[in-house]
């Protein structure tokens, strides 16, 4: 186990370098001239534009820019944004906000999703199961902005429980509404995955054995059924945690949360290579650890799975 983890940690190094390289060149392939875009609607003064590009090193070849970037990265320097701020500061502002929001959404889809899925799976074909299907369909077909709009109107404007947008990103109470909206689509996946898995394993022999042994129902479901059914759900949640950390452009926009999604969106929109790369560098680490965690959980949940 220890060796396995050590190997996985070592593997992160090439993955990390590869991703940074891919992202670096992708940001350079974005259409439009980021420097000229500083002038907005106005035609850029050519002399000023040239001077500006020179000052930012944008007049160098892509490879030179890449070498500079990687060199700086190893000294912990993530570079500067277009408006001369340190990228690391921008990440430092946005990431904690997104972590709070993502964890709330994650807990929501985990608890509610598995709960709904468990009951639907146990009562397969019954009314509760069918309403779960309807809920799934609703969540999939209602666009997130509409869901956000309805929530804002009902909970903020009609009931007045919260403010329509998030006024302070450190206030967890204000983050609940966006978290529910953010987690709703994944909730559909989690609920249906759990339901299917539960329904399938309900017929498995070990369940019959467990019931025959006279184990109490709670124990049968908790230790045997859930534990054996949860692996596909864990896999999905693992990928979803990464996606949530990557920020949600739409939800963050609706609720005016200044997190990773918004920052990345604007940075991509302005072709700000350094900012985009900086965020991705941090996010890739999150993805890698999430993926490792999922693999370790497999082994915990199902002792037949072993890693050397």
């Amino acid at each position: 186990m220890g060796r396995y983890v050590a190997r996985r940690l070592l593997q992160m190094i090439p993955v990390f370098l590869g991703t940074v390289t891919i992202i670096f060149f992708m940001t350079r392939m974005l259409p439009g001239d980021p420097a000229a875009a500083m002038w907005g609607d106005k035609a850029a003064d050519p002399a000023q534009l040239a001077a500006f590009k020179h000052a930012r090193g944008l007049d160098l070849s892509k490879w030179q820019q890449y070498l500079h970037y990687m060199g700086d990265l190893f000294t912990g320097d993530f570079g500067l944004t277009m408006n001369n701020r340190k990228v690391i500061d921008v990440i430092g502002e946005a990431l904690p906000v997104t972590i709070r929001l993502a964890l709330l959404a994650f807990v929501f889809e985990l608890v509610v999703g598995i709960g709904i899925g468990l009951f639907a799976g146990l009562r397969r074909g019954k009314a509760f199961d069918k309403s779960t299907l309807v809920l799934t369909l609703l969540l999939i077909s209602i666009p997130v902005p509409v869901l956000g709009f309805v929530f804002q109107n009902v909970f903020a404007i009609q009931l007045g429980w919260v403010t329509p947008t998030v006024q302070s990103s450190t206030n967890l109470g204000q983050l609940i509404l966006p978290a529910v909206v953010l987690g709703s689509i994944s909730l559909a996946y989690v609920a249906r995955l759990t339901r299917t898995s539960i329904a399938e394993n309900l017929k498995a022999d070990y369940m019959r054995t467990a019931v025959a042994k006279g184990l109490p129902r709670r124990k049968v479901i908790g230790t045997h059924l859930l534990r054996n059914s949860i692996i596909p759900v864990i896999t999905f949640l693992g990928t979803d945690l990464g996606a949530l950390m990557g920020g949600a452009i739409v939800t963050e926009g609706i609720f005016n949360v200044q997190g990773v999604g918004n920052s990345l969106y604007h940075a991509i929109g302005r072709s700000e290579g350094a900012t985009v790369s900086g965020f991705v560098v941090v996010l890739v680490l999150v993805f890698l650890f999430a993926s490792l965690l999922v693999d370790l959980l497999y082994a915990v949940l199902d002792p037949r799975i072993r890693y050397a």
């Binding site: 186990m1 392939m29 799934t136 991509i268 993926s291």
Partner: protein, 317 residues
Amino acid sequence: MPDMIEKSAPAGEDAIPAQRGGAVAEAKAEKPRSLGLDAWHDLRKRPVFIISAVLIVVLVLFAIAPGLFTSVDPRAGDLSKHYLSKPNYLHLFQADWFGYDGQGRSIYARMIYGARASMVVGICVTAGVTIVGGLLGMAAGYYGGWVDTIISRFTDMAFGIPLLLGALVILNAFQVRTVWSVVFALVVLGWTQMTRVMRGSVITVKQSDYVTAAKALGAGTGRIMFKHILPNAIAPVIVVATIALGGYIAAEATLSFLGIGLQDPTISWGIDINSAQKVIRQAPFVLFFPAGMLSVTVLAFIMLGDAVRDALDPKLR
């Protein structure tokens, strides 16, 4: 947790691990009738399957021959009908059945004509993602070792690319954007999740007694993978794929909204759902119909997926 030992020891040499709950191997796959044929016989009797199949046939008809269902030009806009004409639910199959959208175009006609692009995107992307992700995931999960390392780490890398960035770069590379370039971009950006789901599922199934038994009986790798592992590992993949189908139809709309997806004169539900969001306060019915079609499509495929999975899964017989 006990210390981990090498997991991919050859079949037969490794002691069969004790299974929790004392499950016994089921050897249904050894039945004379093939699994596929078996499943088909089973399917034909299921009402869920029949309903979903009918729905899908109708949707496909919309996509192939929209002219059969309406004679109205879905692009013809008359601004005097801008939202003001509420749906007239008694005018079956006529232009004003479902009312008019913000440009004064018949919502009914657009719903019919939108099927083609949306169905193509939904089905093709789902199929592409499932095939690519499924095969990679199966290889990673089954072989383990360095195969798993390479596929999984590559998946991690691809996972790190922000969707928006990837879509912008890929779709901008196309001179002319068609439905197929959108399908291509969504498959390229979407296969990672399916790979992980399949891999996770295969890792669990691989440990089952019946797989060990099949190996012991000398079954070939291909046979084990496709006859024994796949039917038992496919359930989560079907669940994710059927839900994702709706997600891809919606994703197409997001791409169009960003100016890198389908464009006029192409019509799609996604594009209409997107533009209807802006008028949700004034005219919610404009959103209702394209979003409803999306729901019906997803419903049909979820039901189909459920039925197929039940038919394929020996345990549920």
